[in-house]
């Protein structure tokens, strides 16, 4: 954030900031009260709480999914294994010590674009993408993804050809989905590491496309 974008320097930001501030401090107090009670009752170990937060802030995230996609782009055998059994294939990749059941990878093609949503709550493939962004859990996305996916894509600045089919997967059970996006052209011979840098989180949800080669240094 540049200095001139500092929240305190713009009226509308300042307004937002103070409104958030009052809810944040109320919630800060409420969560602290709950945590104190649960710790005093012997139900939780505060060290475990800190460790969970640290894991989701620093270890689990879309960088894992990006490596999965990059491997699938590079290795046709792995891609077949991934599409056949996502959990098994991701485990075999060795990025994670364990992978939960029912991870399903769905492949974009020039004729078909996949998009993942959970209209009922916030189901999301945590192990490969980390925790979901706020928009994924929000009413606008959950309501519109299933009946206006092109409108949703427009909110992300993405336009697909009119003839491209759109397939929306509503995560209504304990199956979890990750989109295998189309590999950008002009990346022939690239290393997996370089390919992974093209794979955005949103491209693995289906609300975005991978970066183009000229977008990365």
């Amino acid at each position: 954030m540049g200095h001139d974008e500092h929240p305190h320097e713009h009226d509308h930001h300042e307004h937002d900031h103070s409104e958030h501030g009052s809810e944040l401090s109320e919630m800060q107090l409420r969560v602290r009260a709950l945590e104190t009670v649960l710790a005093e009752k012997g139900y939780i170990d505060p060290a475990a709480i800190d460790k969970i937060i640290e894991a989701y802030e620093t270890k689990v995230g879309p960088h894992i999914g990006a490596r999965v996609v990059a491997r699938a782009w590079s290795d046709p055998e792995f891609k077949q294994a991934l599409l056949a059994d996502g959990s098994k294939a991701v485990l075999a990749l060795g990025l994670l010590n364990r992978v939960g059941d029912h991870l399903i990878a769905v492949e974009n093609t020039p004729k078909l674009h996949n998009m993942i949503v959970c209209t009922l709550c916030s189901c999301y493939p945590w192990e490969v993408l980390g925790l979901p962004p706020v928009w994924y859990k929000s009413a606008p996305y959950r309501s519109r993804a299933v009946n206006d996916p092109r409108g949703v894509l427009a909110d992300f600045g993405v336009t697909l050809p009119a003839e491209t089919g759109i397939r929306v997967w509503d995560s209504t059970a304990e199956t979890r989905f990750i989109v295998l996006p189309l590999r950008p052209s002009g990346t022939e011979g690239w290393s997996e590491e370089k390919l992974a840098a093209l794979v955005t989180r949103d491209s693995m949800i289906g609300t975005g496309l991978p970066k183009q080669p000229n977008e990365i240094a």
Binding site: L34, I53, P140
Partner: protein, 218 residues
């Protein structure tokens, strides 16, 4: 339940607003709220479905007016009070006023790395699957007042079974503490027009993950 959480196809919520460089948690309390939920669910006193039901049962105006992690906080409080783990007087006071109950499991820091993996919801099948890929099915017209995973927009709609996903814990009973009652789970694919009528986006297809009790032959 036909609650406000069941949002698929509703109008009026506006644009999706992506946030560039979004942090995992927007304030420290969000991380703590998330972690408290994880640690308490580890104790095994409730299922993931019961935790979801607790959030869905928040009054609609509270559900819509609360941020995501605030809903998690309110849902957790309600489970803790409902199960007698702590009183609302204690949460209000911010201190335990009575000794805690004995738990069978307590999450330690050393065990945390093992909890980053999703649990398995697959269960042995009580019988053969009724449907197979390619079968035409109609979702039932059900409106339970309790937890279900059949969204409103996909009730009484004809689709095609695309895949059989195994036999899983049935959320509708698990949320009520009535046991796993394993059911076959299917990916069922609907044409956009079947869900949204003639004005639907012509290239749209939507699938849900449907448990067998939600389906009948069509």
């Amino acid at each position: 339940m036909d609650g406000i959480h069941d949002m698929g196809g509703m109008h009026g919520f506006g644009k999706v607003e992506p946030e560039p460089d979004e942090p995992v948690f927007h304030a420290p309390w969000e991380g703590h709220c998330f972690a408290l939920n994880r640690a308490m669910s580890y104790a095994g006193l409730w299922t993931i479905d019961k935790a979801r039901a607790a959030r869905e049962e928040l009054p609609p105006e509270v559900y819509l007016g609360s941020s995501y992690y605030k809903k998690w906080e309110l849902g957790l409080e309600s489970l803790i009070v409902e199960l007698g783990l702590a009183g609302s007087d204690e949460i209000g006071a911010g201190h335990a006023l009575r000794p805690g109950k004995a738990l069978t499991r307590k999450l330690t820091a050393a065990e945390v790395p093992n909890t980053l993996t999703r649990g398995s919801f697959a269960r042995p099948a009580p019988g053969p699957a009724r449907f197979k890929p390619g079968d035409r099915v109609r979702t039932k017209n059900i409106h339970p007042a309790t937890h279900t995973r059949l969204p409103r927009y996909a009730r009484r709609r004809v689709g095609v079974v695309e895949a059989l996903r195994g036999c899983h814990v049935f959320p509708d009973t698990a949320a009520l503490g009535q046991g796993d009652h394993p059911q076959w789970l299917y990916t069922v694919l609907f044409e956009g027009r079947e869900l949204w009528g003639d004005r639907a986006e012509p290239t749209l297809q939507v699938s849900i993950e449907a448990f067998e009790p939600y389906l009948e032959s069509a």
